[in-house]
Structure formats: structure tokens, C-alpha cells
């Protein structure tokens, strides 16, 4: 009984302590940090969808790309116009047949560990990426035959075929220090003598020479990077001393952090309502800018009834694009064709569908399925992980009802979409997906969207399997002359529109709330490097508060 009395007393004590601690304003401030950062330290904190991979041969998603460009250097650096500037390479030339590319390097570039960046590190980084086959390897696989270093400051790539986008694709070849990586391999591993090729080490460390270096990386929480003062590039006068990528997209958390001055820029996944609330906060604005991402309704061209072009055209005419655009952030525009308008090689004269119910009915009348619409319901799969997609699916359903087409809206998890779109039999009539171009060139997107090689992947539910189209895409991508290549891209867009394989809803506007009162965010000024992750290239962002 005595024990019970003690227990009761403890319970009361705990309860009272809990209530007092939670309900009463503390008379003392929270405990002082043991190592408080100096007040003059500039910190840039951005929320991200997690996880993030900082191994240059593994990461390729949004947060990973944003991290990699801050930790590693590349041979060339992308420009806001969609081209490239010299970076680690100060010059380059290509052979007459377009199969050999030679780059001459700047001297004296130092990795974060102090050793010098040389050509062998670049050859190593390319070979490592190709052997691992993950991350951005798909950009180079099938194109790059070999990477060698004739001397310390010259690196040479032999290509299997000429490539018009090879130069721009090098912005995804992040250069790692060969010695540091190989000193930290774990053996045995899946890569023979190379053990694990340093994958375990590079999970939480960097081996780069970029403007920032990893300071702390608790995997599920955040990535903290600190400024590398010996970086060879130029910093904004108020560039952050520390950059922290925080792994959360939960709207209530993000909003709270923003209001407390503990977050400078939000992730791009905040719902419209959350962005509007953030926009109303004092000192907070929303930066909105066009991206290389387009929202598609991918129609299966081999499965009844969407295998019939008149049926597809009827749906394209029946859809209300204006209403669809109105559901997005102000300033969003209807897509003009198969590639976003800011993509180099976009065809401004391409045919664009508008809602016209008379034309829709005319097209439907030409379809063999016109008299049996009840027997051919159309399944639209939208991705459960992106709840906002449902409203467009419901709009589509309502629009199609206007011409008598029955639409079944199906919420489908992303993992299931990846699986079902891998097979022509299991792919649904329509899948709604955002697809991004890897590079600001029309060809890079057209290849992953419409080439037959991409048919068994999530980036093409259309199953076009069109040899002529494949030939046109390959021909354009191997054309080294820029103007000629762009002309071919334009022809490609006309060809695709004639097939009407997809509905092109809108070019995605990336929206991010940011502390406009103390952050100089170039993207908000319209200075956007149109490549995934590059808007968070921290050396160009200024921070003067909070």
C-alpha cells in the first residue's frame, strides 16, 4: 500500500508538472544553446520532400538535385537562358564527327579536403556513375562510351553516337574526389574490386569541391551544409554561411516555422490554400515561376476505346482547359503542345486544343465506339500521393459526361502507377502525371515521353510504339547543330499533336513562399535556371536576417 501511495504521489506530480509546463508561459526562456551560433551567421533554411541522396551517382530527385549542385562542381554550369557557361572546364572542343568531346580544365580547383581536382576525378565520376547505373546515369547510358584523362587538366569523352544534348547533360555529372571515395569503399560489395564504390560513405559525406560542404546530416531530419570559402566561384555578398534543408512538407509545420523566422523558403509541395495563408504573412511573399514540368493526361493508344484517334480527339475537344488552369496558382497557363513553353525548341505555332463541344461531338461521331459508349467506360487513374490531382480528374469526368463518355475516376498510389504502366495490358486508359524535362531542350522531354524505349515506364502511358516517331526523335537528338536540331524538335511536336496521344493541361508553375523581407531569392526576380534543383543554388541567394 505504501508503494501505491508513492505511485499516486508521482502520478500527481507528473500531471501537475506536465500541465504547468504546457499551459503556463515559462517564466524563463528555453535553455540557452551550449554553442549558440554567432549572430552574424547567415542561415538559409528550406523545407523539402525527403529523403535526399547526396551521392552524385545515386541522387536525382528534387531535394537530391538541390543538394548536389551545392556540394559538387560540374564541368559546365547551366545559364538562365538554357545554355551553359564554362565552370570547371574553361574550354572544350568536339571532333568533326561529334563523337569525341575534349574539355580543358581550370587549374587550382580544390576539393573540400584540400586536394586538387584533376581530370582523372572527372573520368572516375563518370565511370562510377555508369557502373552504378542509378541517379542521373540514365542521361549518359547508351551515349557515353568512355571517359579518359590524357593529362591532369584534359578530360575526353568518347560517345557511341553524336549527341546534341551531351554538353548540357554534363550539368548532371557531379565531380567527386576519386581518392577520397576510394579510401572509403566497403569491401566486399556489389561492384567487384570497387566494393560498394563508396556508396555508404557518400550517403552522409560529400567528396566534392562545390560552394558548400556537409556539416551535419541526420538522415531523416535535415541536411546542414556550411560555406566552403575556398570555392573558386563567386558568392553573393550576403550568401548564407550555412544552408539547411529540412525534411518536412507538412503545411502546419512549415507555416509555423515560417512565422517564427525559422524557415526562409518553403518546399514546392505546399497546397494552394497553405500558400495563400503564407502569402498573407508579413514579410512573406510567394515566388512563382515556370518550370520544365508539364501536366499530362496520358491516353493509352492501344486499348479500346482510347485506341481510336477520333475518340481521343473528342476528349481533347471536350475538356475545359480554362477551368483546369483556374484550379491552379494565378498565372498558370494552358500548355502549348507536348513540351513546356520555356523549353528550347518549343514550337510556338503548334496546334492547341480548346474546349469546343460541337467539334467534340463531330469527332465522337466518327469513332467506332460512338454507338456503344456505355460499353466503353474510360478509367482515369490519378496519383493518390498528390491529392490535388483529384479535382482535375473530377473536372475531366464532368466534361466528358457532356458528350456522353463515362469516366471512372480511380485514386492510385504512385507505386501502383509505376507498376501498372510497366505493362501494355495493365496500363489504364488514362494516367495523370507531371513529367519534367531533364534539360531545357524539347528533345530530352520528347524522348522520355514518346520514344518506344520509354513505353514500359511511368513516363509514357500512351504506348505509341511508333517507329517513325522513334526515328525522328533519335535523329533530332543526334543533330549537333543547334538550329537544325530545334527545327526537328518543332516538326516532332506537330507530328505528336496529329496523333493526339495526350491532353496537355498546363505548364507547372513552381511556387515557393519565401521571406522577402530578408532573403534575396533570384527566382523571385525571374532569374531562374530552368533545371531541377538549381533555383536553390545557395551562392547566388542573399540572406540578411532574420
Amino acid at each position: 500500500m505504501k508503494t501505491l501511495r508513492v505511485l499516486s504521489a508521482m502520478m500527481v506530480l507528473v500531471l501537475v508538472t506536465g500541465l504547468v509546463a504546457s499551459c503556463a508561459r515559462p517564466t524563463e526562456a528555453p535553455p540557452e544553446p551550449t554553442e549558440a551560433p554567432p549572430p552574424e551567421k547567415r542561415v538559409l533554411r528550406i523545407s523539402f520532400s525527403w529523403p535526399t541522396y547526396i551521392d552524385p551517382a545515386v541522387g536525382s530527385d528534387f531535394s537530391s538535385s538541390s543538394s548536389l549542385c551545392n556540394l559538387y562542381d560540374t564541368l559546365v554550369f547551366p545559364t538562365t537562358e538554357g545554355g551553359v557557361d564554362p565552370h570547371v572546364a574553361d574550354s572544350w572542343e568536339t571532333s568533326a564527327d561529334g563523337l569525341t568531346w575534349t574539355f580543358h580544365l581550370r587549374e587550382g580547383i580544390k576539393f573540400h579536403n584540400g586536394s586538387e581536382l584533376t581530370a582523372s576525378d572527372i573520368a572516375f565520376s563518370m565511370n562510377r556513375m555508369l557502373e552504378i547505373g542509378e541517379g542521373y546515369a540514365y542521361v549518359f547510358l547508351g551515349t557515353v562510351e568512355s571517359a579518359t584523362a590524357p593529362d591532369d587538366y584534359t578530360v575526353q569523352f568518347k560517345l557511341a553516337k553524336p549527341s546534341g544534348i551531351f554538353l548540357i547533360s554534363l550539368v548532371r555529372l557531379y565531380i567527386a574526389d576519386e581518392e577520397e571515395v576510394m579510401d572509403n569503399i566497403v569491401t566486399p560489395g556489389p561492384y567487384g574490386d570497387n566494393g560498394d564504390y563508396g556508396k555508404e560513405y557518400l550517403l552522409t559525406h560529400d567528396a566534392g569541391s562545390g560552394p558548400y560542404t556537409v556539416k551535419e546530416f541526420p538522415l531523416e531530419e535535415y541536411l546542414l551544409m556550411e560555406k566552403y570559402d575556398d570555392w573558386f566561384g563567386e558568392f553573393h555578398p550576403n550568401a548564407p554561411d550555412e544552408v539547411k534543408f529540412i525534411g518536412t512538407t507538412e503545411p502546419a509545420t512549415v507555416r509555423t516555422l515560417m512565422s517564427r523566422g525559422e524557415l526562409e523558403i518553403t518546399d514546392q509541395w505546399q497546397p494552394i490554400e497553405a500558400l495563400e495563408a503564407l502569402d498573407e504573412m508579413e514579410g512573406v511573399d510567394v515566388a512563382a515561376f515556370l518550370t520544365l514540368t508539364e501536366f499530362y493526361y496520358m491516353m493509352h493508344t492501344q486499348k479500346p476505346p482510347t485506341d481510336d484517334i477520333h475518340f481521343r480527339r473528342a476528349m481533347a475537344y471536350a475538356f475545359d482547359y480554362e477551368a483546369a488552369v483556374a484550379l491552379e496558382w494565378p498565372g498558370t497557363q494552358q500548355s502549348r503542345g507536348p513540351v513546356p513553353i520555356i523549353t528550347a525548341g518549343h514550337n510556338p505555332d503548334v496546334f492547341v486544343f480548346q474546349r469546343d463541344l460541337d467539334k467534340a461531338r463531330e469527332e465522337l461521331a466518327l469513332s467506332p465506339y460512338a454507338d456503344a459508349l456505355d460499353d466503353y467506360p474510360v478509367e482515369v487513374h490519378w496519383i493518390t500521393d498528390v491529392p490535388a490531382e483529384e479535382k482535375w480528374a473530377l473536372l475531366f469526368q464532368a466534361n466528358m459526361a457532356d458528350i456522353g463518355i463515362n469516366v471512372e475516376v480511380v485514386s492510385t498510389p504512385w507505386t501502383a502507377v509505376v507498376e501498372e504502366t510497366g505493362d501494355i495490358e495493365t496500363s489504364p486508359h488514362i494516367v495523370t502525371i507531371y513529367v519534367s524535362a531533364d534539360f531545357p531542350e524539347a528533345g530530352s522531354l520528347l524522348k522520355v515521353r514518346y520514344h518506344s524505349d520509354a513505353a514500359p515506364t511511368w513516363s509514357q502511358n500512351e504506348w505509341l510504339l511508333d517507329d517513325e516517331l522513334d526515328q525522328m526523335i533519335e535523329d533530332s537528338l543526334t543533330t549537333v547543330d543547334e538550329e537544325e536540331r530545334y527545327a526537328k524538335y518543332r516538326d516532332l511536336q506537330d507530328y505528336i499533336m496529329d496523333l493526339c496521344p495526350s491532353l496537355f493541361l498546363y505548364d507547372q508553375v513552381q511556387k515557393q513562399a519565401y521571406r522577402s523581407d530578408y532573403v534575396d531569392f533570384p527566382a523571385a526576380r525571374g532569374e531562374v535556371i530552368p533545371l531541377m534543383g538549381l533555383v536553390f543554388f545557395a551562392p547566388k541567394i542573399g540572406v540578411t536576417g532574420p
Binding site: S8, P33, T34, Y138, L203
Partner: protein
């Protein structure tokens, strides 16, 4: 002796429960949509890389063979590599599980202390205004999911009033203590680092209370109900007729038997809290194993799913055995009752 036999039997049963759990979770994780090899190497990885990953994961083998490989490694403490974090699941669990354990222990203390205290208070003032108010609050606690409390606390105490920290286990700049148990409050006390201890405690309050609210309400309702029942028993009337003071009756004759159902439910609530903490962990960016398990589910991270579920299963079983012991201590009929066959 009977009680020890009972416990041994419970522990032996637990092993079979774990084995059954491992089979169920293995099958569920395998039939979930999505190719885990593709998820592991990224959606645009070439086919040969996916095939190689499938081979490494034994995905080309029949299900029972896959289970054999998986169980063999699991018995050696090797749950394989997480497809999300890309490191050993065992390492992940070592890092993330203590965070969840610390949070749920804190919530458990609030549930037990607060629930029993409120229950007693309600029973003592049965059908008076204080009882009515506490019952109303309890109903609210039971019907409101913990994540609603989490968002409410975050917006009120974190954003509007700015009294409390809103994310992570420690403030930026506070040096974490050397990891011994992984529970920062405990490790910081062991290291004599009072600043880290207070800061960790400070960070526990909002997510801990949010997590505890459902259980707290449940415990208070059960304690009240149990005490109310016991109040009508003959032995209480007898005690009153003998002139024993009400305070003594309450403490000596009423509280102990009334706590038995509360303790039983408390065990279940505690284990359930641990498994269901993922939304609260997400909201407070708490690096725990619940949110880790949730991410694993979304990404079809088979090894991590199995690791998390089995760990939670072990916790569930351990807590239930502990509850049996406590209930046995509280109720002699249980610990002294002869077991079947004796």
C-alpha cells in the same frame, strides 16, 4: 510458482506470435503494388540495374524461398538494407527507435499519471460538476485523433504564442550528449549535461502531450468507471459502516482493485501509441521509427517495413507481459491462481 509458469507460457506464446507476425508482414509487403527493386534504384534506372537489384533481393525466387532468406538474415539481426535510407535497417532502427521510445515513454507517463488522476477525481466527485466537465474533456480526448491535437498545439503554442519548440529533439546549437541509450533525456542526465536534458524535455512536451491525449482520456474513463463500480460493492459499504474514513477507503480499498482494468488498457494504449505515432512525428519532424516505418510503407521499402513491424511487435509483446506482471501484483487472484493442469 503458478505465476512464473504463467509468465513462461506467455513468453513462449510470444515467440509464436512473432513468427506469425513475421509471416503476415512478409506476405503483405510482398503483395503490395509496386516493384521494390525499381523503387530502390529510382524510376528511371535502366532495366539491367533493376534486374540486378531484384537478384540481390531474391525477388526472382518463390515467396517461401524469399521468406527463408529473409528469416535467416533476420535471426542474425540483419534485416537487409533500407531502400529509402540506403543503409542497414538495423542501423536505422538503432537511430530512430530510441526517438520514438523516448516520445512514447513520455506520453505513457502522461497517460498513466494524468488518466488515473483524472479518473480518481471524477469518481470522487461522481455526477457533480467537476465530474461532468472531466467526462466531457475525456470524450473529446477519446474522439479526437492525436494528429489533430498535434496540429492544434503546434499552431497555438508554436506559432501563435511561440512558447514551445516545434520540431526535432534538440534546439540548433545544443550539443547532443554521447549516445548511450539513444534517449536524449537519459543520456544527457548520464553525461551530466543539464542544458541538453532540459532542452530535450522541452521538445518532448508538445508531441508527447498530443500523443498522450487519446490514452489519457481512455484511462481516465476506465478508472472512473471501475472506481464507480467498486464504490457500490458490499465491502466498501461494510468499511463505511465500520466508520473508516472516506480517504482511507479510497486509498486502501478502492484504488488498487480499480486500477486493474486501467493498467491492462494502458499497456495496449502504450504499444498502440508507439505504432501510431507517425503523424505526430511528421508534424513535429521527430526523427522516430514510426515516421520511418510510414515512409517505408509509401515507398515499398520491404526490409524497413519488416524491421519496423517486428520491432513494434516485440514492444507490444514485452509491454503486454509487463502488464500481466503488474496486474498480477495488483490482483493476487491472478498471481496465485493455479494454472490449468496443475
Amino acid at each position: 510458482m503458478g505465476f512464473i509458469t504463467f509468465l513462461v507460457r506467455r513468453i513462449l506464446h510470444s515467440i509464436f506470435v512473432l513468427l506469425g507476425l513475421s509471416i503476415v508482414i512478409f506476405i503483405i509487403s510482398r503483395i503490395m503494388p509496386g516493384n521494390p527493386a525499381r523503387m530502390a534504384v529510382g524510376p528511371r534506372a535502366p532495366q539491367y540495374v533493376i534486374d540486378e537489384m531484384s537478384r540481390l533481393m531474391h525477388l526472382h525466387e518463390p515467396l517461401h524461398v524469399q521468406y527463408y532468406y529473409w528469416l535467416r538474415d533476420a535471426l542474425h539481426g540483419d534485416f537487409g538494407t533500407s531502400l529509402v535510407t540506403r543503409r542497414a535497417v538495423a542501423d536505422d532502427m538503432k537511430e530512430f527507435f530510441p526517438a520514438t521510445l523516448e516520445l512514447t515513454l513520455f506520453a505513457g507517463v502522461i497517460m498513466a499519471g494524468g488518466g488515473i488522476f483524472i479518473g480518481i477525481l471524477s469518481a470522487q466527485h461522481k455526477d457533480k460538476w467537476i465530474d461532468n466537465v472531466l467526462r466531457l474533456v475525456s470524450y473529446l480526448g477519446v474522439v479526437t485523433p492525436s494528429f489533430i491535437f498535434a496540429i492544434f498545439f503546434l499552431l497555438l503554442f508554436g506559432m501563435a504564442l511561440e512558447w514551445m519548440p516545434t520540431m526535432s529533439r534538440l534546439s540548433p546549437g545544443v550539443s547532443p550528449p554521447r549516445t548511450i541509450t539513444g534517449l536524449i533525456t537519459v543520456d544527457s542526465l548520464l553525461a551530466g549535461n543539464l542544458t541538453a536534458f532540459l532542452d530535450a524535455l522541452w521538445h518532448l512536451i508538445l508531441p508527447g502531450i498530443a500523443l498522450a491525449m487519446g490514452g489519457l482520456a481512455q484511462e481516465s474513463r476506465i478508472t472512473r468507471s471501475s472506481m464507480s463500480d467498486n464504490l457500490t460493492k458490499d465491502y466498501i459499504a461494510s468499511a463505511r459502516s465500520l466508520g473508516i474514513p472516506e480517504r482511507v477507503i479510497m486509498r486502501r480499498f478502492l484504488l488498487k482493485p480499480s486500477l486493474i482494468p486501467t493498467v491492462s488498457i494502458l499497456g495496449l494504449d502504450f504499444a498502440g501509441t508507439m505504432a501510431n505515432a507517425f503523424l505526430v512525428e511528421f508534424i513535429f519532424n521527430w526523427p522516430g521509427s514510426s515516421s520511418y516505418g510510414y515512409s517505408a510503407m509509401l515507398r515499398k521499402d520491404l526490409n524497413a517495413i519488416a524491421g519496423v513491424v517486428l520491432t513494434m511487435g516485440v514492444v507490444f509483446i514485452v509491454v503486454n507481459v509487463l502488464v500481466d506482471i503488474v496486474v498480477g501484483l495488483l490482483d493476487p487472484r491472478i498471481r496465485l491462481a493455479p494454472q490449468r493442469g496443475e
